[in-house]
Structure formats: structure tokens, C-alpha cells
Amino acid sequence: MLSIIRTLWTVFLHMFRRRETLLYPEERPKLPPRWRGRIILSRDPDGEERCVACYLCAAACPVDCISLQATEDGRGRRYPEFFRINFSRCIFCGFCEEACPTYAIQLTPDFEMGEYVRKNLVYEKEDLLISGQGKYPDYNFYRVAGLSIGGKDKGQAENEEPPVDVKDLMP
């Protein structure tokens, strides 16, 4: 009996507590920077696409919502001909970001993607590409990779020494 009255009193006192609800459209939630939201494709410091169309993100995706087609430009750089994410399927697990070897695909703290037409949830490359570098600044895959592309030969990458002639016996 006493405990019932104590319960009533405790609940009554909650009248003077701060409310936990966030009045969403007026008040915005504070999302942490690593929050897994809308997926973007970033660019390298030179302003070129980071994505090398390796298909790892599409392979890692548990719901198969990423599709792309690799192609090559005149300098020998691989890039996706098209890059398509179906956000009506995406579960925002972040596996694509983990699989990406070039920091191209990234998840951002944004969730306001509501659409009235389901088809509008299919994002093409021009919707996904941003002009900046996202969460990983100053990283340029082609500048650290040993691959030779137009304008950069083997051994010219950062922290790389000139290639060794394996048939040469001289030290």
C-alpha cells in the first residue's frame, strides 16, 4: 500500500523533470561525425574522383544496393562509368565504406532523404559525388599507389623509390 503511494508520488514528481523528447523539425539532433547516414562519393585533393571502380563496395554490400560499371580514361585511370546506389534498399551498415581501398565512398551524418516517389531514392553518380574530400583529407590514391598512369610513371609516387632493374647484378 505504501509502495503504491510512493510510486504515485515519484511519477507525479516527473511533472517537473526536463522532457527527453527532441521536437525534431524545430530542434535538430546533434549527430556525431561518424554517424552512418547518406552515402557520398568523395574527390581527391586535386578535385578528381577517388573511386577506382574496384567493385569492392558492391561486393561487400549485404543488400546489393550498389551497382557500377568500371571504365578507364585516356591516362589509364580507372573510374566508374556509372555509379548507382538504391537508397530504398540501403541499410546504412557502412560495409562499403570499410571495403573501399581509396576512401572514395563515405557515410555522412545526414538522414533527411525522404521522398514521395520511390524511384527518387535511386541516386546516380552526379547525386553522390561531392566536391570535397569528406572525412579523409589529403589522401590521393594515385599519388601513393605504384601504378603508372598518364603524367606519373612507376617510382614517382610518394615515398617510392625508382624501380630496380631485377636483371642488373650491380649493388
Binding site: I4, T7, L8, T10, V11, F12, H14, M15, R19, T21
Partner: protein
């Protein structure tokens, strides 16, 4: 006593004409229905307040128009009767609860002169109506022909039977002290001291019985949404469900108004500058406090097991209320009234 008869004479003089009488009846009906539906909003807001949330606050100022939105929704919903249901009874059941609760309101005197009928068996009429209200729930459970509804209806019938008994008994102390079943006389008898003091145990018993009568938490076992889907109204939709819903809130208003009338001095309260509507305001304020109390009960207490509920009613409350009646009667006899 002399003062009492004088006020009654005043009351007799104040008997309104037929036009005024009709006006009073319809304004009471309108007010009661408005309060009943407004409680839907109030309950959701208060529950939210006590659970550190906001509740409906989008439609209109403070979300008040939520009631209108709900009304539109419930009225435009498909009115579906399951093919396996017993049609006439299924349709009749929700009407009974609304009719009995609204009829109970006729005997309540809100303020001197503001009432529908001045019945000298007012309290008995209320008890009769609340017993009839059980038919609504029991028949709804029966006519739905679904196991959850039937279980809910059975529970309602058993619960009402056991709680009706000591509800009546808990009020007998008040009747003994006031010497009348007329609700106006009972209020007049509280001119000196509200009955919540001498009839404290009666008040507690009536609170418990009233909660059980209303089928509200912690005694909402006929509904018990965590075990019986929605109990007796599982199969109901649209306005038929709406009638059960409004009936429940009207019942809350009714029981709160009765607690005010029987234990808390009805329309009596400090007089401020002889304002003529003040008695009504006092009555409504007190009723409002008890309505909030019922909502607080719902916000804080869990539902007991069914056998606990039954044994509590028969083994604890019934003997206690009997004792209350005996002691009250004995004291009144010794005092020589």
C-alpha cells in the same frame, strides 16, 4: 437542519421554466460530451508529461485539435462487423455503455439548480446504471465470438460482480451520514465537514471500486492489451470502438464527479465576491483534480494478476467496507441520530 430546509425552499423557488430546463439539459449533455472527448487529449498529454515526453502537440494550439483529427479519423473508418459475430448484439453493445453512462449523469447536481433531474434515489440510480453498463462489456465480448473478446468479457463480468458489491457498500457510510440517497441532499449535508474526513475508508474503497468499475489501469483486466489484444473490444473498429472509448472517458468524468459530490463537498468552496457561477466552477475544479488522479493512476501502476484482483475484491475490500458500514452505523446510533 433548519438551514437545510431553507436552502431547499430556495431551490424550490429556483425551479427553472421548461425552456430553461431544456437548455440546461442540452448544455449538460454538450458539456459532458466535450469533456469526455477532451479527456482523450488530456490523458495523452498528462501521460506524456509524467513520462517525460510531450504527447500530441502538433494539431492546433497545444495539440488541442488532435481530438477533432481523431474524431474525423474514427468516423471515416470502415465500419466493419466480423462475419462470425452475432450482429444485433454486436451493434447494440457499444451503445449500452454510452447510454448508461450518460443516464448516470442525469442525477448529478453540478451546482444549485444545474442538474437534469432531482431524483430522491439518485445514488441508487447511479449504482443501477453502472451495473447495467457491465452488460455492454460482457455482451461485446460474447457477441464478438473471438477467444480474446470472450475472455475479456468474462473477466469484465466477474470483475464487475465482485467490485459492484463493495462499491455499493462503500457508499452506504455516506448515505448513513447524510440520511438521503439524493445527491443534492448529500452535498448539503457536507456544509460543515466534507465526508472525505469521517468517511475516509469509504472514499478509499470507492476510489478502488470506481477504478475497477471504469476498467482503467490498474484494473483494466477486461482490456489487458498485453495479453488479450484489446479484450472485449478486440473486434471493434470505427465509431463502435469510438463509443467504447468515449464511454470510458465519460465514465472517468462520472466517477470523478461522484467522488466530488459524495466525499468532497460538491459545489462548496470558499466564496469569492458572491460570483453566481462560482459553485459550478468549484465543482468542475474538484472533478478535474480527480480526473487527473485517475490518469496518474494509469501512468504509475502496473496491472495485477487476475486472481489477485478477484481475491483482493472479495477477501480484503468487502470485509473492510462492511466493517466501515457497521462502525459508521454504530457511531451514528450512539450519537442518537
Amino acid at each position: 437542519m433548519g438551514e437545510n430546509t431553507k436552502t431547499r425552499e430556495n431551490e424550490m423557488k429556483e425551479i427553472p421554466g421548461p425552456a430553461e430546463q431544456v437548455l440546461i439539459v442540452f448544455s449538460i449533455l454538450a458539456a459532458v460530451m466535450t469533456i469526455g472527448s477532451g479527456l482523450i487529449w488530456l490523458e495523452r498529454r498528462l501521460l506524456a508529461l509524467w513520462q517525460d515526453r510531450y504527447g500530441p502537440n502538433r494539431v492546433g494550439p497545444f495539440g488541442l485539435l488532435q481530438v477533432v483529427a481523431d474524431m474525423i479519423k474514427v468516423l471515416t473508418k470502415e465500419d466493419w462487423i466480423p462475419p462470425f459475430a452475432d450482429r444485433p448484439v454486436f451493434v447494440l453493445a457499444p451503445a449500452i455503455i454510452l447510454v448508461t453512462v450518460l443516464l448516470s449523469f442525469t442525477v448529478i447536481t453540478f451546482a444549485p439548480g444545474i442538474r437534469v433531474v432531482d431524483m430522491n434515489v439518485g445514488l441508487l440510480f447511479f449504482l443501477a446504471m453502472s451495473s447495467l453498463g457491465v452488460y455492454s462489456v460482457a455482451l461485446a465480448g460474447w457477441a464478438s465470438d473471438s477467444k480474446y473478446s470472450l475472455l475479456g468479457g468474462l473477466r469484465a463480468a466477474a470483475q464487475m460482480l465482485s467490485y459492484e458489491v463493495f462499491m455499493g457498500l462503500s457508499l452506504m457510510g455516506v448515505v448513513l451520514q447524510a440520511g438521503s440517497f439524493n445527491l443534492r441532499d448529500i452535498v448539503e449535508a457536507q456544509r460543515g465537514l466534507w465526508f472525505c474526513v469521517p468517511q475516509f475508508f469509504g472514499l478509499v474503497a470507492f476510489l478502488i471500486a470506481g477504478t475497477a468499475e471504469l476498467r482503467r489501469l490498474p484494473f483494466d483486466l477486461p482490456e489487458a492489451e498485453s495479453e488479450l489484444v484489446a479484450g472485449f473490444h478486440s473486434e471493434y473498429s470505427g465509431m463502435k470502438f469510438g463509443m467504447f472509448f468515449v464511454g470510458e472517458y465519460l465514465g472517468v468524468t462520472l466517477i470523478s464527479a461522484l467522488i466530488t459530490t459524495l466525499f468532497f463537498g460538491g459545489w462548496f468552496g470558499p466564496d469569492i465576491m458572491g460570483w453566481s457561477l462560482l459553485p459550478l466552477v468549484w465543482f468542475l475544479l474538484k472533478t478535474f483534480v480527480f480526473i487527473c488522479g485517475f490518469i496518474l493512476l494509469r501512468a504509475s501502476l502496473p496491472r495485477p494478476r487476475y486472481d489477485q484482483l478477484m481475491s483482493f475484491g472479495w477477501k480484503v475490500m468487502l470485509p473492510l467496507t462492511l466493517l466501515n458500514v457497521v462502525v459508521t452505523g454504530g457511531i451514528l446510533l450512539l450519537a442518537g441520530r
